[in-house]
């Protein structure tokens, strides 16, 4: 195979020649000139014939290969936080990134996490490499949390679970698996969806298209559109679904709607692909938030599920999550798992251990697990309270008769306010409320004390700006 690669290289001598030409060509350009690094301009015969004399050699070394590299655009989500940090106004409010804050708008480390870390410190555990698939205790705990410990898929060993770098990393492993084994298959993603979904599938070279999801007229789910678009997709497509607390909108299908979605997916022989980043965080109940996934699994369907512990255990920066592939047999699951590992090895060899140990300790200890459930209810509860207060403030202030109840119907950290880009800009520029330009606010970053202020800002932007 190595020799095949070599012949590949020698089959394209022009490629290497163009490198040489470009290098020589670059010496003639002013350093300020930004052109594409390895552009296809034809060689200039005079340069080709010139040998590397002492002077040109020196200059060639100093010209950078990266001459033509331009600044990447700022990340739309993480860029909001950066802008917020730079703002000096005392009234500023960061409703950008989805990281939970307590009522004092401070980051919150869960008590169970602190306890777990202390346990780990006392035990003085080593830092040896995990295996490629991650910490076994974590993989077991995470699959049981998702499907329920007594779920047939687990008892029959039909789930391939591999620890991943939070939700992003887990999605990326699955995307690479799709690219490898289903070349040309499409992933259907909701419109809108989490901003990074598209990047992940793009970089993994998996084609995607969108299904209708958000209905701006009702500020709710465009269910007919969703079903229709899933139905129209080529058979055997992957359908990316948010297990609960849809990001960006906060709008989830009802249980009846989930049944119909499962129907159409089965009918079209599609593969469901769940992104579960908020289990426990949406309703406050771990089991309730997993019901959509369990519904599909109960139908005997094969499916993929990416999980993240960033929000529900507050382990954002530890990058802990998992990819689960439910297969129709234990043998298939074993094979799939081995291929997921093969994808992970040249990406990062094996996943980081710290977050995995925390999760395994919390879920594995009955007392800590109960405490976690209580803390999660508290966090989800705070968000529900904030939604109520915001709704009350808006309803009291707004005499126009506009229906703000969508704030109560939506679930999870985010709310799609229905504000457009110009209105969102007004929120930021006039009111120092930082949010993403599509009108999404993170309620996790809102305190009860600030609801009135936010209501004023929303009212102003909605009614006075177009």
């Amino acid at each position: 195979m190595a020799s095949a690669m070599i012949s590949l290289a020698s089959a394209t001598p022009s490629a290497s020649l163009s490198v040489q030409e470009t290098l020589m060509g670059k010496t003639r350009l002013a350093s300020g000139c930004v052109s594409t690094l390895f552009n296809k301009e034809k060689g200039k015969p005079s340069i080709k014939k010139k040998s590397f004399g002492q002077i040109s050699m020196t200059v060639a070394v100093n010209v950078s290969r990266f001459e033509g590299i331009v600044m990447a655009p700022p990340d739309p989500i993480l860029g909001v936080s950066e802008a917020f940090r730079a703002d000096i106004d005392v009234k500023k409010l960061n409703l950008g990134v989805g990281a939970y804050r307590n009522e004092e708008l401070q980051p919150y480390v869960l008590d169970v996490v602190k306890k777990a870390e202390n346990l780990m410190l006392e035990r003085g555990e080593n830092k040896e490499y995990l295996s490629i698939e991650g910490l076994a205790a974590f993989n077991k705990a995470t699959a049981e949390l998702l499907f329920g410990a007594d779920n047939p898929v687990i008892e029959q060993q039909r789930v391939a679970t591999v620890q991943g770098l939070s939700g992003t990393g887990s999605l990326r492993l699955a995307a690479a698996l799709i690219e490898r084994y289903f070349p040309g298959a499409k992933v259907l993603i909701s419109s809108p969806t989490w901003g990074n979904h598209k990047n992940i599938f793009n970089d993994a070279r998996v084609p995607w298209s969108e299904y209708r999801y958000y209905d701006p007229k009702t500020v709710g789910l465009d269910f007919e559109g969703m079903i229709s678009d899933i139905k129209a997709a080529p058979e055997g497509s992957f359908v990316l679904l948010h297990g609960c607390a849809h990001n960006r909108t906060g709008i989830d299908p009802t249980p009846e709607q989930w049944e119909k979605i499962a129907d159409i997916i089965q009918e079209k022989n599609h593969i469901p692909f769940f992104d579960v980043a908020y289990q426990g965080f949406a309703s406050g109940s771990l089991d309730a938030d997993a019901s959509s996934v369990r519904l599909f699994a109960a139908r005997g369907m094969e499916l993929l599920v990416a999980q993240s512990y960033s929000k529900n255990l507050g382990l954002y920066a530890e990058r802990i999550g998992a990819i689960n592939v439910v297969c129709s047999s234990a043998d298939a699951a074993a094979r799939v798992k081995s291929q997921l590992k093969r994808i992970a090895r040249p990406m990062y060899s094996n996943p980081p251990v710290h977050g995995a140990r925390i999760v395994a300790n919390v879920v594995g200890d009955p007392a800590l697990f109960d405490e976690w459930k209580a803390e999660m209810e508290m966090m989800a509860g705070r968000i529900k309270n904030v939604r109520q207060k915001l709704f009350d403030s808006l309803s009291a202030k707004d005499k126009s008769g506009k229906d703000w109840s969508f704030i109560l119907k939506q679930i999870g950290m985010f709310s799609f306010t229905g504000l457009n880009k110009t209105q969102s800009d007004n929120m930021t520029n006039k009111w120092h409320v930082y949010m993403t330009k599509d009108g999404r606010i993170s309620l996790a970053g809102l305190s009860l004390a600030k609801c009135e202020y936010l209501a004023d800002a929303i009212m102003d932007s909605f009614h006075n700006v177009s």
Binding site: Q339, P351, G355
Partner: protein, 460 residues
């Protein structure tokens, strides 16, 4: 066995055609045609080792340091750093480029404490998922911004290098490196390959303690390599996974890099804290690319972040905090340097002791290569079949290319006290006899030698 690594990397997944997508019955699977992936040649060894119930088993495969009792080592400075950071910090997302503090300190290690490049902000650098992640990010970056290029990889090299550049879809070539007869560097063939490569080629270089051979160029040879790189306009990408761990002195271990920097090369570097800080499972490392000026460094960094975002969004915080806590505190940093030197000295001591013992036996052959080689690995020259036999019959686990990690006293004591070991000696003599027919100096001596020599040499 050098080719084995490549073979493993290449004997890969099968592309499945469309037929499998149209399965409709629930008893068949979408994943019908997914074949079991081959075990990773290195990490698979530890998996097999862990699964082995034999009490006599020894793992000289994966490159993880062990203390005199055979236990994994957590450095004192690391424990202290963890005590300090426990419970204090929140776990907010790091920026996509990772911990700024940790990256700053890490660049100082590679480029020099007072490096002008750091002062002038010419280095685009991001925290990475240890060395693997840094190499992968660079490979993806190379693919995106230099799509016509290939990568020249030494033969042999760490097996995962081939996987990384392959998954990044960058075509690979190898260059000569290891000379099996001398068990040293094949310098003339190496230089020929550098000269014959098209101008402006990308080369992967091991900064120190070459993995798997332990053979490094001398300082003089590095200077020649650097000069030839200038003549050819090649790009040097350094994989430095053992800084401090090789000689005990981080600056000395970075000598190759410093030579290239002095000569004006714009290089790339992958750094890892897996071995030298014992942070294996924390996945902490750094990718850096030296640019023309600050503006370019900012642009390149933004593009590296752009590649990282759809892979893992932002890197894990815990290991980075440990690193920045240690390197940011003069006392802890001093402690770390001391501990790294202890680890490196222990391995150098093992090599010296082994060589002395062999020389003492009055062998006409040269054992110089044992102390010439550096780092924790030894290239034994065993074939995959011989390795398999050692594993199957004697529960000695190692990678099939014959690479052995230096065992330590504890493993030696345990091993030689077992009846299984005593019984195994005639068979091992057998193996070495086979080797001797290929006129490799090492096994010829063993075939003639007494059992205790076999023990010592096998153990390395």
């Amino acid at each position: 066995m050098a080719g084995f690594g490549k073979a493993m990397a290449c004997r890969e997944h099968v592309r499945i055609r469309l037929g499998t997508r149209f399965m409709s019955s629930s008893s068949s699977s979408w994943w019908q045609s997914v074949e079991p992936a081959p075990k990773d040649p290195i990490l698979g060894v530890t998996e097999a080792f862990l699964a082995d119930p034999s009490p006599d088993k020894v793992n000289v495969g994966v490159g993880a340091y062990r203390d005199d009792n055979g236990k994994p080592v957590v450095l004192q400075c690391v424990r202290e750093a963890e005590r300090r950071i426990a419970g204090n910090l929140n776990m907010e997302y790091l920026p996509m480029g990772g911990s700024v503090k940790m990256v700053e300190e890490t660049l100082k290690l590679a480029y020099g404490e007072h490096s002008e490049f750091i002062k002038d902000k010419r280095i685009a650098a991001v925290q990475s998922l240890s060395g693997t992640g840094a190499c992968r990010l660079f490979a993806d970056f190379q693919k995106r911004f230099s799509p016509a290029s290939q990568i020249y990889i030494p033969d042999p090299t760490w097996a995962n290098h081939h996987n990384i550049w392959r998954d990044a879809q960058v075509p690979q070539r190898t260059y000569h490196y290891y000379h099996p007869e001398t068990k040293g560097l094949d310098f003339s063939a190496l230089m020929d390959d550098i000269k014959n490569a098209p101008n402006g080629s990308f080369f992967l270089l091991h900064a120190c303690a070459h993995n798997p051979t332990g053979v490094d160029p001398s300082e003089e040879q590095w200077r020649e390599i650097s000069h030839q790189f200038r003549v050819k306009g090649h790009f040097a990408f350094f994989d430095m996974a053992y800084q401090g761990f090789a000689s005990g002195d981080p600056d000395r271990d970075a000598k190759s890099i410093r030579i290239f920097l002095q000569d004006g090369h714009h290089i790339g570097i992958s750094q890892s804290y897996a071995k030298n800080m014992g942070l294996y499972g924390q996945r902490v490392g750094c990718l850096s690319v030296l640019c023309e000026d600050e503006k370019q460094a900012v642009a390149v960094k933004s593009q590296l972040q752009q590649l990282a975002r759809p892979m893992y969004s932002n890197p894990p915080v815990h290991g980075a905090l440990v690193v920045s806590t240690i390197l940011g505190d003069p006392e802890l940093k001093k402690l770390w340097l001391k501990e790294v030197k202890v680890m490196a000295d222990r391995i150098i001591g093992m090599r010296t002791m082994l060589r002395e013992n062999l020389d003492k036996l009055g062998s006409p052959l040269s054992w110089k290569h044992i102390t010439d080689q550096i780092g924790m690995f030894c290239y034994s020259g065993m074939t995959p079949e011989q390795v398999d036999r050692l594993t199957k019959e004697f529960h000695i686990y190692m990678t099939r290319n014959g690479r052995i990690r230096f065992a330590l006293n504890h493993e030696y004591r345990t091993l030689t006290s077992t009846p299984a070991w005593q019984a195994s000696i005639p068979a091992m003599l057998d193996i070495w006899q086979m080797l001797s027919t290929r006129s490799r100096g090492l096994p010829r001596l063993i075939a003639e030698a007494k059992p205790q020599i076999v023990e010592e040499v096998i153990l390395i």
